[in-house]
């Protein structure tokens, strides 16, 4: 069940360093939203606050609100572990568990929280998740082989299958294609297009064409200088951001005149 995300006045700190300042953004359900911006402007940092993965990093903390269909992720008594099973994440480098078979990788998240599956249920989850990640045909004959034996692009789609197997509401992707070749990139982009029919997808990318190809809305982040906090500069329909942005900084960035 995809859900909408509403962020209100979010600040993110690493210790005393304010990394991201004052972000407010409303992300609709069943849409693809792209985050773009120069390196170090806090895209990854902000993305991680949407499923509380930043809490894994030492010293990271937030101020402000993130609402998932109205429920505050940072409300008292909210368990970050539960948040992450609703808001999945795909990382820059494909990271299937090397000691697990392809099948076990897909089931890794489902088996958490004491979840027990009958054999046939498990097979069904594996098949539907891998089909959902456009990987089924490539791996259906070797489900018991290690996931690390796949190509980089296949591994990344395996990670997406693993993420959708737990039936999240939202899928966050941090530069999911930056370690992939163009063909695998296209495969993942096609997949993102299909995913948005069922999930809310947020993707960080450095590739403008990719942002233009896959996203409905685009958010441009920028940073005033080193040591300054990153800010959300402009957030609009992707076509608007790329064709007639309101802000000068956005226009410079998308037209490659940045810096």
């Amino acid at each position: 069940m995809s859900k909408r995300i509403d962020v209100k006045d979010l600040n993110v700190y690493y210790g005393n360093f304010l990394a991201v300042e004052g972000v407010s953004i409303n992300i609709a359900a069943r849409s693809v939203t792209a985050f773009i911006g120069p390196s170090g402007c806090g895209k990854s940092t902000f993305l991680r606050t949407l499923n509380r993965m930043h809490e894994v990093l030492p010293g990271a903390r937030v101020e402000g609100q993130v609402l998932l269909d109205g429920d505050d992720l940072y409300g008292s008594g909210v368990d970050p572990v539960a948040v992450r099973s609703h808001v999945g994440m795909v990382f820059q480098r494909p990271n299937p568990f090397p000691t697990m078979s392809i099948r076990d990788n897909v089931l890794a998240g489902v088996k958490l929280n004491g979840g027990r599956l009958s054999k046939s249920d498990a097979q069904e989850v594996v098949e539907s998740s891998l089909k959902g990640a456009n990987l089924w045909n490539e791996v259906k004959d070797r489900l018991d082989k290690p996931g690390s034996g796949l190509s980089g692009g296949q591994q990344q789609r395996l990670c997406i299958a693993r993420a959708i197997a737990v039936k999240p509401d939202v899928i966050l992707m941090d530069e999911p294609c930056s370690a992939l070749d163009p063909i695998s990139t296209l495969a993942v982009e096609d997949l993102i297009n299909e995913l948005k029919e069922r999930y809310t997808v947020v993707i960080v990318t450095h590739n403008m064409q990719q942002a233009a190809r896959v996203s409905d809305k685009t958010a441009f982040f920028n940073i005033a200088g080193t040591g300054k906090p990153g800010k959300l500069i402009e957030y609009a329909d992707t076509t608007t951001i790329f064709n007639n942005p309101k802000e000068k900084a956005t226009e410079d960035y998308v037209s490659g005149r940045f810096g």
């Binding site: 568990f97 090397p98 930056s178 450095h206």
Partner: protein, 336 residues
């Protein structure tokens, strides 16, 4: 670690940028500079030194093995009635082998779970300051000489365990290994095993901690992002990654436990092989050699050396077994 993740992110971007630059063709002059290979001499010296070092290790190993075999032969070939007060070599060595293996096995049974737990606590649970302090303490413990552990075993641990042994034998005395009457001094094989466990815990902990700390952040985050608790993350990402390392660490501990001489010689009031761990009796090879070596001569010396050869073989066999266990799971080790 997170830093490195971000650094690689940046590095990848750097590559994207430079990839669009046109490559300047390499000039012939630059090629010549490359082919002159200034480092070649140093390279030769290093590879020579490495080869020599490797050869020395092999030679020493072979020399030790040859010495053991040559010196042990007389004991194996002599009429068995002359060996070990007429006992014969094999009847003499068998209880020692069993005692050695039981003592080491119990020690590992105790030490392995504790070590893994402590190592996990240091690597994944304790706040940074505490884990640093604990790390120092563990490394310090690993450096304590075994005679100190032996002294501690005799003077403190053995008497302290006597009430426990009394209770064990009355409650579980029907199990042969807990059969009474328990030793009044506490100088039993179980005490010796516990001392051995205490000695190997720092070694296993220290190696395990290093390995746990090396778990790729990538896989830890993969587990956490799926909604794993910290313990689930450890089971999913840390332990599978560390499995071969844990086995190596345990083997290291086993090597020490099998060969440990002083502590066992001090703590164990030795005797013939008996099933009960709570009575005095039993002996290990290493302690037997140490206790009898000073007075040994002639054939009895050969007998002790033959015992040493058996210990050597047992250790080797155990190590080979461990390697086989590790290699069985190569495909899923993450090394590919």
């Amino acid at each position: 670690m997170t830093r490195t993740v971000h650094e690689t992110a940046r590095a990848t971007k750097g590559r994207d940028l430079t990839a669009t630059e046109t490559k300047t063709p390499e000039s012939p002059g630059r090629l010549r500079a490359l082919s002159s290979r200034q480092g070649a001499a140093g390279d030769k010296v290093f590879s020579g030194a490495a080869l020599a070092a490797g050869a020395i290790i092999l030679v020493v190993l072979v020399a030790v093995a040859v010495f053991l075999v040559v010196q042990a032969m007389p004991a194996l070939l002599a009429p068995q009635s002359q060996i070990a007060n007429g006992e014969g070599f094999w009847p003499y060595i068998f209880p020692l082998v069993v005692g050695t293996i039981i003592a080491a096995a119990i020690a590992l049974l105790i030490a392995t779970p504790i070590s893994i737990g402590v190592a996990l606590f240091i690597s994944h649970y304790a706040p940074r300051r505490l884990s640093q302090i604990l790390g120092y303490i563990i490394d310090l413990l690993a450096a304590i000489p075994s005679v100190i552990f032996g002294a501690w075993g005799i003077s403190f641990l053995a008497p302290a365990l006597v009430p426990g042994y009394t209770w064990l034998s009355s409650a579980l005395g029907w199990i042969p290994i807990f059969a009474g009457p328990p030793s009044a001094t506490g100088k039993t094989l179980l005490t010796a095993s516990i001392v051995l466990a205490v000695m190997v815990i720092p070694i296993i902990t220290s190696v395990c901690r290093e390995i746990f700390l090396q778990t790729p952040k990538l896989h830890e985050e993969a587990a956490l992002a799926l909604g794993a608790t910290r313990w689930e993350m450890i089971r999913m990402a840390v332990l599978p990654f560390a499995r071969p390392g844990i086995i190596s660490a345990v083997m290291l501990g086993l090597g020490r436990a099998l060969g440990e001489t002083m502590a066992v010689a001090l703590v164990l009031s030795s005797g013939p092989l008996i099933a009960s761990l709570l009575q005095s009796g039993n002996q290990t090879i290493a302690a037997e050699i140490a206790l009898n070596f000073p007075e040994a001569s002639g054939l009895s010396l050969n007998t002790l050396i033959a015992a040493g050869l058996v210990l050597f073989i047992v250790t080797l066999a155990v190590n080979l077994l461990a390697r086989w266990v590790i290699s069985r799971h190569k495909e899923f080790s993450g090394a590919n």
